[in-house]
Amino acid sequence: MTEKELKEIVFTELKKIAPECDPDDVDPDENIREALDIDSYSFLQLIIALSDSTGVDIVEADYEKVFTLEGMLRYLSARID
């Protein structure tokens, strides 16, 4: 999976949770939960969705690492086969 494809997947899932947002406008270092107003329930749904589409299980202890787009992409690409 290319970085571009991965980004595509993350953006698609984000749009499902926050349809009115444009992930392109989000600073890669910004906390997406705050920037896109995503509550803990919706964040869990995002984690589940990403697990389904990438096969990566983000364990709860690592949630902090994926609070930014940059962190999320780095975390996922490091673990995708």
Binding site: E20, Y41, S51
Partner: protein, 401 residues
Amino acid sequence: MGEFRMPSLGADMEAGRLVEWLVKPGDRCRRGDIVATVETQKGLFEVEIFEDGIIGEALVQAGQRVPVGTVLAMINPEGAAAAAEKAGTVPPPVTVKAEPEQLKPAEVPSERPPVRAERLACSPSARRLAAELGVNVEDVRGTGPHGAIQRIDIEQAAQKAASSAEAAAASRPLPAAAGTLQQGMRQAIAAAMSRSNREIPHYYLEMEIDMSRPLHWLEGENLKRPIRERLLPAVLLLKGVAKALRDVPELNGYWLDERLQVKQELHIGFAVALRGGGLITPAIHHVDKLGLTELMKAMGDLVERTRAGRLRSSEMTDTTITVTNLGDLGVRAVYGVIYPPQVALVAFGRIMERPWAEGGMLGVRRTVTVTLAADHRATDGHRGSQFLEALNRHLQLPEEL
């Protein structure tokens, strides 16, 4: 014979629009079945029936807006309808015999001829405006002299209809697409909260709770669980509230007719913020009887359906106490406004690391600030503080939640 009426889906609801009948005349229904969808200022709701029976002819058609309490359809008892089905005829109305007696003119003097009472007072200009704006004057409550409907009543009805239609349109096919605050919901919240602030003498209590133990336990638990079954801290908090309410039941109920009515059932209204603004607090039924996994499922289901605009009427009417978890995203403490006629609201701030002094030592712990807003007519601060202490006690024993 029973009556299926437009339900009141909250203290602020005056009328609702019947959007769709999900049953036909002649259908057999069981108590709890969803028989219609109704649209209010807060969105679209699935309405349940509270009686077993056969649905009679629809007295209100889809699309009509009627006041709370309006009979939407009769519910015929199973037996009568079955007999009628066999005979192939409609059962005769049972009341026919009683009516002539009631109408004896000498015995029942009526102040006005019935025809006059039926006549709808509506100014000619309002009537024309209603036709222009597509408002049914029969659905409008007049505020003019002698209850006459005037232009302003039509204008307001049209405005309400437009905003609730907007809200419904926004919440149905693309629930999260509501980019702007829906005016109807804003009005509904405004009405309920103004009433609360006007009528309820609130008192507030606050407590800082050390969440180290419960979160440590939760993380261990989540490690064992597949991703789809992971629990959120909110589930622990909800369950803790439910257990504490068993210790201090006076906070779970309604203030009605100038007295506290404690409720046995524990239906916690869970505040769900809608993307784009607005808030709905549907009930999670029988929280005390649910395990944590079931509660997580129930909560997830409720959040999804709230945001999709598919709540059931009982979820809007049964709430006995409200919990808000506004701190999920940021704030440290929340001072809530009680939703009448409830008598308490429990609010959690954000779980965050803070300095914590204990046993002469200073450490860093993850803590949460919980506040109780309670109706001083119903309870006193002493009971309120007992509730918060009980909540702390239960949260410190997460394995028993």
